[in-house]
C-alpha cells in the first residue's frame, strides 16, 4: 500500500526508477521524498549521485552543500562539495572550500604528511588553482599554481605528475629556461619515450608562444612541435643541436644513460645533447628524423641509418612508423602564427608524390639490390643474415601498398612467403594487398592460411575474422573468432557480452552489404547499447573516486564520459544507422507478413499510427505468451520474473531487428544525426547525414547549416558538391513559403555557397576546376559529371571526359569509387559502351585482382 506522505515510499519509488535507468523520474521521486524528510542523508546522497550522473551540476552542488551542512565532520562531504563547486565553473570557490576543509583539521593530521591521499588532494587543489582566470589576467591562476607546487612538494608522491604540472605552467608563463630543466628532470625519471615531454622540451628550446605550447601539449602519439607545423631555419638549427647524435664526435663512453645533470651547468650543446645523454632512447632518434628537412643530405643519411637498424632487427611496423613522416603543409586560412600547419598525407596519390616516400623507395630499392647480391647494405662490408633481405622486401611491399601499387606489392610479398613460409606477418600483408586490390575472397583465404600457422595468435585471428566478414563468410568468421571466445553457446552472444565492438561493427557491415537491414540494425544498435553501458558505468565511480581521493582522474573521467559519443566506433554505428533508416525511408521494404499493412502507400502520420497499432498488437501478444508460459511452468523460477520485466538478452530478442525496422525511420535518423553533429562536429560525414535527414524532413535552414559546416571543414568535398546541387534543386521545387526572414537567410547564405553564381555557373566552374587539377578526387569527378548530365550542362562527352581523362592519378581512387564511376558511365546511355570498356581497362590495370567489375 502506498503512503503518499512517507519518505520511505518515495525513496523506494525513486530507487525503482533508478533500476530501470529512468533517472529524471528517479530524481523527481527523491526530491519528493526530501520534501517530506529534508534531512535524510541516505536520500540526499542517492540524489547527488543521480545529479552528477545526469550532469545537473547546480543541483549537485546544492545537494552536496546540504549534506555537508548536516555532517561537516566527514572528509568525503567536504571533497564532494568542493568538486561540486569546481564543476560548476567556480575554481576560486572550490579552493575556498578545500581551504576551509584544511582549516577543520587538527595539527599533525595525516592530511599534512606525505601520502597517497594527501598527495592526490594537493595536486587536485593545484589543478583547480591553475584554472582560475581573471579578466585581463588569464595567467593569474597558473602563477598561483606554480607557487603552490613548491608548497606541496614534500606532500606529493606522484613526482612525475608534479613535474608535468610544473612543466605545463612554466611553458604557459614563458619561463623557458626553467621549463627546459624540468624536462630534463622528467627525462631522467624515465620519460624519454614520452613524446609530450619532448614536445614541451622543443617548445622551451625555441621559445614558442603560449598557444603553440598548449597545442603541442595536446598532441597524441608521436606528434611534437616538428610534426605540428613547419619549423623556421633558426628553430630547426636549435632543435637539431639538441637531438643530433653527436656521441661519435666526442668520447661518449663515460656518459651513462641518464647521467646526473647539473641544472646549473652552462648551456653548451653537448651538455644538453639528448642523444648522447640517453643513448638507449628510441624516441630521441625518431624525433631527430622529423627535425631534418627531407631534401637535406643529413636526412638521407640519418633515415638510411634508421632503416638499416630496424631491418636488421626485423621490425614489422617500420613501414607504418615511417608513414607518419609523410607530412604536407596546409594553410588553414588564418593569418598569423598557425597559418600553416602539417597534415598527414594518406591518399596514395599524395603519398606517391611525397619527397620522404620517394627517398624511402630509393633507399629500399638499393637495399634490396645490394642485400640480394652480396648480403650487405650498399657501401658496407658487414654481412647480414638472410632475414634482413626478407624485411627489406617486406618494407618495399608496404611502400607499394601505400602508393596503391598492388600487383608489385604482391610480387614482393610472395617472395617473402617463399623465403620464410613460417612468417605470419607476410600472409597478413598479402591479404591486405589483395583486399585493397579488389579480391576480398582470396584475401580471406590467405589471411586464414596465415592464421593457421599459429592458433595462439589472437591478433591474426581477429584479422582473419574481419576479412572473412568483409568477404561475406559469416559462418567461417564465427568459427574463427569462437576459438578465442568461450566454447559453449553462440559466439555472437559471447562477443556481445564481452562488448566486442569491432566484431559487431564488421558483422553489421557484412549484413548490410547482404541486404539484411534488420539484422544489421540490430548489430549496430548493440554497439550503441555498449556505449550506453559505458556511460552508465561511470555511476560506480561517483562515490568511489571521491572516497579514494583520485579527484584528478575523476574529473578526467567525467570529461571522457561527456565526449564518449564522439568516439569513432560509436560514430561508425550511428552513421550506418542513419543511412539504413534513410534507405528505409526512401525505399519502403515489402513486408513478408501478410497481415502487416503496406506502409509505403500511407502518409507519414498514417504510417506512424498503423505502426503503433502493429507494435501494440505484437506486444500484447508477447505478453500473453509470457503469461501463458508462466502459468504452465513452475512459478518459483526467478528467471521468469526477469523475463517478465523485459530483461531478456538483447541479442536473442528480435535478432533480425524486425522491431527496429518497424520504428519510424525519420525519428530514428533524426535522433542519431543530432547526436553525430553534436559530438562529432569535425567529421564531414556527420554534417552530410544531418543534411540528408533535414532535407527529407523539409527543414531547409538546418540543411543549409549542414552545408555551410561542410564547406568550413573542406570546401572541396564531393559530399558538399553533390548536396549543394541537390539543395538548389529542392529549393526550386518546394513551393511552400517559410518565414520571410528564413527565406532571406536561405537565399543570401545559399548564394554564398554557390559563390554568387547561378547553379549552372556553379557546376560549370566546378567542371573547369576539376578538369584543370589532375589530383581532383574521383568521387568529386563523378559528382560533377552527374550534375552536368542531370542539369544538361555541356555534352555527356564532356562529363565523361572528367572521369576517363583522370587516368586514375587523382585522389580517392578505390575499388568502390571506381565501381560507382562505372555505374555512372553505364547510366549515361548506350553510346558509352566503348568508354565503359576503356574505363574497365584502366581500373583493372590499377586493381589487378578485381573480379566481376
Amino acid at each position: 500500500m502506498m503512503d503518499m506522505r512517507s519518505h520511505v515510499c518515495w525513496h523506494v519509488y525513486g530507487l525503482l526508477y533508478r533500476s530501470t535507468r529512468d533517472y529524471p523520474e528517479a530524481i523527481k521521486a527523491y526530491k519528493q521524498a526530501l520534501r517530506i524528510d529534508p534531512e535524510n542523508l541516505q536520500i540526499l546522497r542517492d540524489l547527488s549521485l543521480l545529479q552528477i550522473q545526469m550532469r545537473d551540476l547546480m543541483g549537485f552542488r546544492e545537494t552536496r552543500l546540504k549534506i555537508l551542512t548536516l555532517r561537516p565532520n566527514s572528509k568525503v562531504h567536504w571533497l564532494s562539495y568542493a568538486l561540486g563547486v569546481h564543476v560548476c565553473g567556480d575554481p576560486e570557490g572550490a579552493i575556498g572550500v578545500l581551504d576551509s576543509y584544511v582549516g577543520t583539521l587538527e595539527e599533525g593530521s595525516t592530511e599534512f604528511c606525505r601520502g597517497f591521499e594527501s598527495s592526490e588532494l594537493a595536486l587536485y587543489k593545484n589543478r583547480v588553482l591553475s584554472e582560475i582566470r581573471e579578466v585581463g589576467n588569464e595567467l593569474v591562476g597558473v602563477k598561483k599554481a606554480l607557487e603552490h607546487l613548491e608548497e606541496i612538494r614534500d606532500v606529493v608522491v606522484d613526482r612525475t605528475g608534479w613535474l608535468q604540472a610544473k612543466l605545463s605552467y612554466q611553458l604557459q608563463l614563458g619561463m623557458f629556461c626553467e621549463a627546459r630543466d624540468t624536462c630534463f628532470l622528467l627525462f631522467q625519471r624515465g620519460c624519454t619515450e614520452d613524446h609530450r615531454v619532448h614536445g614541451a622540451y622543443m617548445c622551451a628550446l625555441v621559445n614558442c608562444d603560449r598557444d603553440t605550447c598548449v597545442q603541442v601539449q595536446k598532441l597524441r602519439g608521436t606528434g611534437t612541435l616538428a610534426t605540428l607545423r613547419p619549423l623556421t631555419d633558426t628553430e630547426r638549427k636549435i632543435l637539431i643541436d639538441a637531438y643530433e647524435d653527436s656521441a661519435k664526435d666526442c668520447d661518449g663512453s663515460h656518459i651513462q644513460n641518464g647521467a646526473p645533470y647539473d641544472v646549473h651547468d652552462g648551456e653548451g650543446a653537448t651538455k644538453k645533447n639528448l642523444a648522447a645523454r640517453f643513448p638507449r632512447s628510441a624516441a630521441i632518434k625518431r624525433i631527430y628524423l622529423t627535425l631534418l628537412s627531407p631534401s637535406s643530405e643529413q636526412f638521407r643519411t640519418s633515415i638510411d641509418k634508421y632503416c638499416q637498424r630496424q631491418l636488421i632487427k626485423g621490425v614489422p611496423s617500420l613501414g607504418s612508423d615511417l608513414s607518419a613522416m609523410y607530412l604536407v603543409e596546409k594553410s588553414n586560412g588564418n593569418v598569423g602564427y598557425d597559418r600553416i600547419h602539417y597534415v598527414l598525407a594518406t591518399d596514395p596519390a599524395d603519398v606517391k608524390l611525397h619527397p620522404v616516400y620517394q627517398q624511402l623507395v630509393q633507399l629500399t630499392d638499393s637495399y634490396i639490390h645490394s642485400l640480394s647480391s652480396q648480403n650487405t647494405f650498399p657501401n658496407d662490408s658487414t654481412e647480414h643474415p638472410p632475414s634482413t633481405l626478407l624485411w627489406a622486401w617486406y618494407l618495399r611491399s608496404i611502400l607499394h601498398e601505400q602508393a596503391a601499387e598492388y600487383a608489385n606489392g604482391i610480387t614482393l610479398i610472395n617472395k617473402c612467403i617463399e623465403h620464410t613460409p613460417t612468417g605470419v606477418d607476410f600472409y597478413e600483408l598479402k591479404a591486405r594487398l589483395l583486399e585493397a586490390g579488389g579480391d576480398i575472397q582470396q584475401a580471406a583465404d590467405v589471411v586464414d592460411a596465415g592464421r593457421d600457422l599459429d592458433h595462439q595468435d589472437r591478433y591474426i585471428n581477429n584479422q582473419t575474422t574481419k576479412t572473412l566478414l568483409r568477404a561475406g563468410r559469416e559462418e567461417d568468421a564465427k568459427k574463427r573468432i569462437a576459438m578465442f571466445a568461450i566454447h559453449e553457446g553462440d559466439p555472437e552472444q559471447n562477443l556481445y557480452d564481452m562488448q566486442c565492438t569491432w566484431f559487431e561493427l564488421e558483422l553489421a557491415d557484412s549484413c548490410r552489404r547482404k541486404g539484411q537491414l534488420g539484422r544489421s540494425l540490430r548489430k549496430y544498435m548493440s554497439v550503441v547499447k555498449h556505449y550506453e553501458d559505458y556511460h552508465e558505468d561511470q555511476f560506480d565511480f561517483h562515490a568511489y573516486c571521491i572516497r579514494k581521493v583520485t579527484l584528478r582522474t575523476y574529473c578526467e573521467l567525467l570529461k571522457f564520459e561527456d565526449e564518449i559519443w564522439g568516439l569513432p566506433f560509436y560514430g561508425h554505428a550511428a552513421e550506418e544507422i542513419v543511412k539504413i533508416y534513410l534507405h528505409i525511408l526512401d525505399t519502403p521494404i515489402q513486408s513478408n507478413d501478410d497481415d502487416e499493412p503496406d506502409y509505403s502507400k500511407m502518409t507519414s502520420a498514417e504510417r506512424k499510427k498503423a505502426k503503433n497499432i502493429a507494435r501494440k498488437k505484437k506486444k500484447s501478444q508477447e505478453k500473453s505468451d509470457i503469461n501463458g508460459c508462466k502459468k504452465s511452468e513452475d512459478s518459483s523460477k526467478p528467471t521468469d520474473d526477469n523475463r517478465k520485466k523485459g530483461k531478456r538478452h538483447p541479442v536473442n530478442e528480435d535478432p533480425n531487428g524486425l522491431e527496429l525496422i518497424a520504428l519510424d525511420p525519420t525519428t530514428e535518423a533524426k535522433k542519431f544525426a543530432a547526436i553525430l553533429v553534436r559530438h562529432a562536429p569535425k567529421n564531414i560525414s556527420s554534417w552530410a547525414l544531418q543534411y540528408d535527414v533535414s532535407i527529407r524532413r523539409g527543414k531547409m535552414l538546418m540543411a543549409l547549416q549542414a552545408l555551410c559546416k561542410i564547406k568550413h571543414i573542406d570546401g572541396n568535398s564531393h559530399q558538399l558538391f553533390a548536396r549543394t546541387v541537390d539543395f538548389s534543386l529542392k529549393l526550386a521545387s518546394t513551393a511552400t513559403k517559410g518565414h520571410p526572414t528564413s527565406e532571406m537567410v536561405i537565399s543570401t547564405e545559399f548564394s554564398k555557397l554557390l559563390n554568387n553564381q547561378s547553379l549552372e555557373g556553379y557546376i560549370q566552374s566546378a567542371f573547369k576546376t576539376v578538369k584543370a587539377v589532375p589530383m581532383s578526387s574521383l568521387p568529386l569527378r563523378v559528382e560533377v559529371a552527374k550534375a552536368m548530365v542531370s542539369a544538361h550542362i555541356g555534352t555527356s562527352d564532356d562529363a565523361l571526359s572528367l572521369i576517363l581523362d583522370s587516368e586514375l592519378v587523382g585522389r580517392g581512387v578505390t575499388v568502390n569509387s571506381c565501381r560507382e564511376a562505372l555505374q555512372f558511365i553505364e547510366s549515361v546511355g548506350p553510346d558509352s559502351a566503348g568508354l565503359k570498356e576503356q574505363w574497365k581497362m584502366l581500373v583493372t590495370a590499377k586493381f589487378p585482382f578485381v573480379k566481376d567489375l
Binding site: G314, N375, E383, P385, P386, S387, L389, L390, E418, H419, T420, P421, T422, G423, D452, L453, D454, H455, Q456, K479, M483, F484, H487
Partner: protein, 194 residues
Amino acid sequence: MIKSKKTLPVEFGIINADNVEQAIFYLAFHIQLLWQQLKKINQACLPIAYAPSFYQELVSKNPKDGASMELRQNLSKFAYWNGFAVGAICSKVEAIKDCPGRSRIYIMTLATLAPYRNRGIGSALLDSLISYYESHATDTALSTVDEIMLHVQTSNEDAIKFYEQFGFEREEFVEGYYKRIDPPDCFVLRKKLR
C-alpha cells in the same frame, strides 16, 4: 661444396607440446597448433609430403609409443631465427626389430629453409639431439638406445656429407624405399652410440 657463411645464433623451441595442451583447453576444434609451421618447413625443404597422421602423431597428447612429453620435446624441436621458425628436427625412439629389448633414435625429418642454410642451423639441431642423448643416456627411456639412424636418398650427397661430419656411417643400400621420388633408393646412415 658451398662456401660456409657466417653462423647464425639459433634459439631452440620445442614443437609446442605445452601449447598443444593449452590448445585443447582453449581452442576446442583444432588441437594442432604450430605443427602447421613444421609442415610449411617440410613442404619447402623435403621432396616427400608427409601424411597428416605424421603430424598428428607428433603433437598427439597420447602418442602410440608412450614417450613422455619431456622426451618428445627434446627429440623434436624448431630452430628460430629472429622470431621465425626456420628449421626443425623430428625424431623418435623406436625398437630395433632384430634385437629385442634394444632401441634406437630414428630421425624422421631434419630440415632448414633454403635461405638459412650453410649457417649451422642443421648442425645445431642435430647437436642438440646428440647432446640430449649424452646427458640423459641413463634415463629409462634412453637406456636401451644403441644408435641414431636415418634414411637418406642416394642422390642427396650434401646430406650424406653433413651426417658424416657427425660420425654417421653409410650402411646398407635400400632399393625402392621411396615411392614417388626419383631415385627411389636410399642409404641407411647410422651412428653407434655405445
